[in-house]
Amino acid sequence: MSSEDKIRKFILENYLFTDDQSELNNDDSFLDQGILDSTGILEIIFFIEDEFGIKIKDDEMVPENLDSVNRIVAFIERKQQE
């Protein structure tokens, strides 16, 4: 499964409670769509760290890195190249 698929699956299952792929666009802003809130973000961070074996620093917990599927995929790629 690609990173994108894993992340989509996690969000659909845990925040949207559906397996209907059309309910989540890769560009949807989690903040704007109300998909995530402050307690949700820590869960995503733990998932990303566990699933992809990277460590996320406090100052990386910003919308640019985490606020959509596309952004998370790009962020993981960058971190894995470090």
Partner: protein, 515 residues
């Protein structure tokens, strides 16, 4: 020689601060800055537009937006126009928004484009809304009749004096109650200006402060950060939420934030992050907490994170904004206390018959002062249960419904609620409201919702569901509908499908046996 008039109305604070210090930074939101002159000008301009559109004194104007500059401008504009503002949490879904629009018979809705999936159908179902003003990217809303926010700003000098007096309503603040539908708490300019002065006094704030706002403006705790800051001529740094902590940390450092208001869930997150990577914010001199109890065990870590701050533990309810605060110097001496009545107010502890309890005994907290609400909008019977006759003729006492004790120094200790309202993430949740939503799920025969203790959330929401005979109901089916119809903090953390629910001798569901 001109004598300065006393301030009577909420919005006068903005115009006075703008006159004193027009170029001072008033608000920052998502990197955009607004001076007092600009803020006052835009508020007056929107007020003029609303008046021109026929908004009259006392009309309700619902503001359905995130914590943006446009939201702050709108709140002051509605006040200046002589109308009543109603801020609704942007997480609110369609059914509840429709309910609120109809309950308060809103004339105008001010909102943001990204919320169109919720507000467009809600406005369709509303009988009273005559105009929708909308900020943000309106590309998808062409032809919908929505007025762009920028087009609703007339020249500031076209604003007319509204004739409002202190006794007039300033705001309706909707809050969850045991009845299942939210109720609009009515606050006048009098109760609001009074409590604003009391808060500023005990928090020891000044024009030099930089306040952080990351709590929703729909919540009075968030709203008053805006009011306190503007009243003083201080600076308010606004963020939509605590969702991306790094953004908040950056803002605190960039603007040297001095006042950090939050709720226990946020403090719990801060403490866990601090244990991963140490955090330190030396500019913060005031840390405040309310909505739920801040565990004494977190105080040492918070003192490391905020080494120069006074920590204020407070208690209040929307019905009077705030009740008490503990002098920060006592934080280690009185770990479980929420302190004494805020300046200019009084409290007393009475039993269920309304008689004073013996010192140290548990009773129901009652509050006396000018900060009390006028009542619940359109709900006189409910209001009469909570605002009871006080000693002086015509005066009302607020019955909080919370159990408290008081020590020999007069400091208060919260002992529990007398109703079944759940407090989760610092937010009030009515079990009935959640049950009503779960009952709409296909295949649900019966439901019971309770609160269970939770380390991070305070209380978590647990839902027991009995399916219709032969129905294959899944937890996911239930959760999906909850996410669609309820605000995030109202979605049950635990859902259990059960064969039946325990009942009392009279056949009612026994929630006691469920917990």
């Amino acid at each position: 020689m001109e004598t300065e008039r006393p301030q009577r109305l909420m919005h006068e604070g903005l115009f006075r601060s703008a006159k004193r210090n027009p170029d001072k930074l008033a608000l920052v939101a998502e990197g955009e800055e607004l001076t007092y002159a600009k803020l006052a000008g835009k508020a007056a301009g929107l007020a003029a537009y609303l008046q021109r559109q026929g908004l009259s004194r006392g009309d309700r104007c619902v503001i359905f937006m995130d914590n943006t500059l446009a939201c702050a401008i709108s709140i002051y504009a509605v006040l200046a126009a002589g109308a009543v503002f109603v801020v609704v949490n942007p997480q609110t879904k369609q059914d509840k928004l429709t309910y609120i629009l109809n309950d308060c018979q809103a004339r105008v809705l001010i909102t943001d484009a990204h919320l169109h999936r919720v507000f467009l159908p809600a406005v369709e179902d509303s009988e009273s809304v005559q105009q929708v003003i909308c900020s943000g990217d309106l590309a998808r809303l062409e032809g919908s009749g929505v007025v762009p926010f920028e087009d609703a700003l007339l020249p500031a000098d076209q604003m007319k004096v509204s004739g409002t007096i202190q006794k007039d309503l300033a705001a309706l603040i909707y809050t969850s109650g045991s009845t299942g539908d939210p109720k609009g708490v009515m606050h006048t300019h009098l109760s609001m200006t009074f409590v604003l002065g009391s808060l500023i006094e005990y928090l020891r704030l000044s024009a030099q402060d930089r306040l952080l706002l990351m709590l929703p403006l729909a919540f009075d705790y968030g709203l008053y950060q805006l009011f306190m800051s503007v009243q003083l001529g201080a600076t308010l740094v606004m963020e939509r939420s605590f969702t991306y902590p790094a953004v908040i940390f950056q803002r605190i450092r960039e603007y040297e934030v001095t006042v950090f208001p939050a709720v226990p869930t946020i403090y719990a997150m801060l403490v866990s992050m601090h244990h991963r990577e140490p955090l330190c914010f030396p500019s913060v001199t005031r840390v405040t907490n309310t909505a739920a109890a801040l565990p004494a065990g977190q105080i040492p870590a918070l003192k490391e994170i905020f080494p120069n701050a006074l920590i204020f533990k407070m208690y209040g309810l929307t019905e009077c904004k705030r009740v008490s605060y503990l002098e920060p110097e006592l934080i280690d001496l009185k770990p479980g206390s929420v302190g004494k009545a805020i300046p200019g107010t009084e409290v007393c502890i009475l039993d269920e018959e309304g008689n004073p309890v013996a010192p140290g005994e548990v009773g129901i907290l009652h509050v006396r002062g000018t900060h009390l609400m006028l009542g619940y909008w359109n709900a006189p019977e409910l209001s009469a249960r909570v605002l009871i006759d006080a000693h002086l003729p015509g005066e009302k006492l607020l019955r909080t419904g919370d159990w408290f004790t008081m020590d020999e120094d007069g400091d208060l200790y919260f002992k529990g609620r007398s109703d079944d309202i759940i407090k989760t993430r610092g937010e009030k949740v009515s079990p009935l409201e959640v049950e009503n939503v779960v009952n709409t799920v296909q295949g649900v025969r019966e439901v019971a919702v309770i609160g269970v203790e939770d380390e991070t959330l305070g209380q978590a929401i647990k839902c027991f569901v009995v399916p219709e005979q032969g129905c294959d109901l899944s937890i996911r089916d239930v959760r999906k509908v909850c996410v669609e119809k309820l605000e995030n903090f109202m979605v049950p953390k635990y859902i259990e499908i059960v064969a039946s629910l325990p009942r009392t001798a009279t056949g009612k569901i026994s929630k006691k046996e469920l917990s």
